[in-house]
Symmetry: C2
Subunit: 243 residues, 2 copies
């Protein structure tokens, strides 16, 4: 499985992904699930994918190829809505190639994508694109979107994250959310990939790969664990029964 999370705040965009792929527990590999494209001063995109690795690699390859060969591609679209539509069309194109054969062999056409970024002239936006090529957009009320194993890491986002969260704190929250998932689900694994974009800068603010040796993330995991245990100890026990 996979866990990807994107947080859109007033100050910018944070997207974090794990890198574990597996075809059964005896076939585990590390693959980047993140693609970043930018034309500084004009547009920045970050695309994260979950699902069947063959499908997501084909989608990304076609998007990339279209930038060199097609008239309508991510570098020529006028806004993020058209960018999401372009990715959605590519997903449908891959389905038209391989979808029926996968289904005939009882394999799902499984893919979902997070596309975040900004094109000059409008604010940063973020979309969740489904296997059918349709999509939803995040909003001020729903400022985060998730792919894959999303449940373990959702409670902290539900409680602490808003559109007004500062960009650095949004990154910290995304890392805490990832830590909860790493800790409780073996199919999600280190290293993790981090992308940060600051509103209106029109170039990438940060791309970083984090493994177990990265000291800030190791410290965050330790401090979060300790804080949770202390929080739990700090609440008095119920006195509903004797003894």
């Amino acid at each position: 499985m996979t866990y990807c999370v994107g947080l859109l705040v007033r100050e910018g965009l944070v997207m974090v992904s794990d890198t574990r792929t597996n075809a059964g527990v005896d076939q585990i590999s590390t693959y980047s699930k993140i693609s970043v494209w930018e034309r500084p001063g004009d547009r920045v995109f970050c695309l994260m994918s979950a699902g069947n690795l063959a499908i997501s690699q084909e989608v990304v390859s076609l998007i990339q190829e279209d930038m060199a060969t097609a008239e309508h591609n991510l570098m020529t679209v006028p806004n993020m809505f058209r960018a999401a539509q372009t990715v959605g069309k590519t997903v449908r194109a891959v389905y038209s190639i391989a979808g029926r054969e996968l289904e005939a062999q009882s394999a799902d056409f499984s893919i979902s994508l997070l596309l975040g970024g900004q094109i000059k002239g409008e604010p940063p936006r973020m979309f969740l694109i489904y296997a059918a090529g349709n999509f939803i957009e995040s909003s001020v009320e729903t400022p985060f979107l998730q792919l894959g194993e999303h449940k373990y890491g959702k409670p902290i986002l539900d409680r602490a994250m808003t559109f007004e969260t500062r960009l650095r704190s949004a990154l910290k929250l995304a890392l805490i959310s990832m830590d909860s998932t790493l800790r409780s689900n073996l199919s999600v694994g280190l290293p993790i990939d981090v992308f940060v974009y600051r509103t209106d800068e029109l170039e990438v603010a940060l791309r970083k790969r984090i493994d177990e040796r990265e000291s800030y993330f190791a410290g965050l995991r330790e401090q979060w664990s300790t804080a949770l245990r202390e929080a739990y100890r700090g609440i008095k026990d119920p006195d509903w029964f004797q003894g």
Copy 2:
């Protein structure tokens, strides 16, 4: 959906369940998912169920009926392993009545159960019983078992719970785990049912229904939320990017 969690510790057994059932979002009801049987001084059982409500009600009804009419039933079995086997046999009996028809109508035969308790002569034990009637038992290394929407509430148990956790603290942990689930998933809802059993007492220590007016649980939810937000604020932000 449903969330049920059972924690087996040295001092006893805590089992907590929500009460929401739904057949689509416009058909939501409150049903107890917990059955408790005891013969003080000899045996105590707590059974919690998730899945198709018609199936779980039929299983519980047959178990109950068997106590009056069958030679082998929960009140006559010599140990908890045989008790779990008896429940598993009842699940198979219900499958033999309704399973094929459900499948013919594209409905799953979906049920899972948690059975906890103690029979005089052995320590308390807890089992997770599947739709096929087979089952697994909790252990010192794996002291909690969950049914239904288990992911939201798993991280805190993974971090804080062991077999040596005190009984009152285990109840507090189960409530925190339930709170995380209630907060992030609409299909799990108040009120919740609580069962507590203390090792070797051979009678129920506590049965309690908790709704939004119950002051301890309301306080716990508030304190836990505050503590999480403070824990998150207490960790310094990453300084990986400028500005």
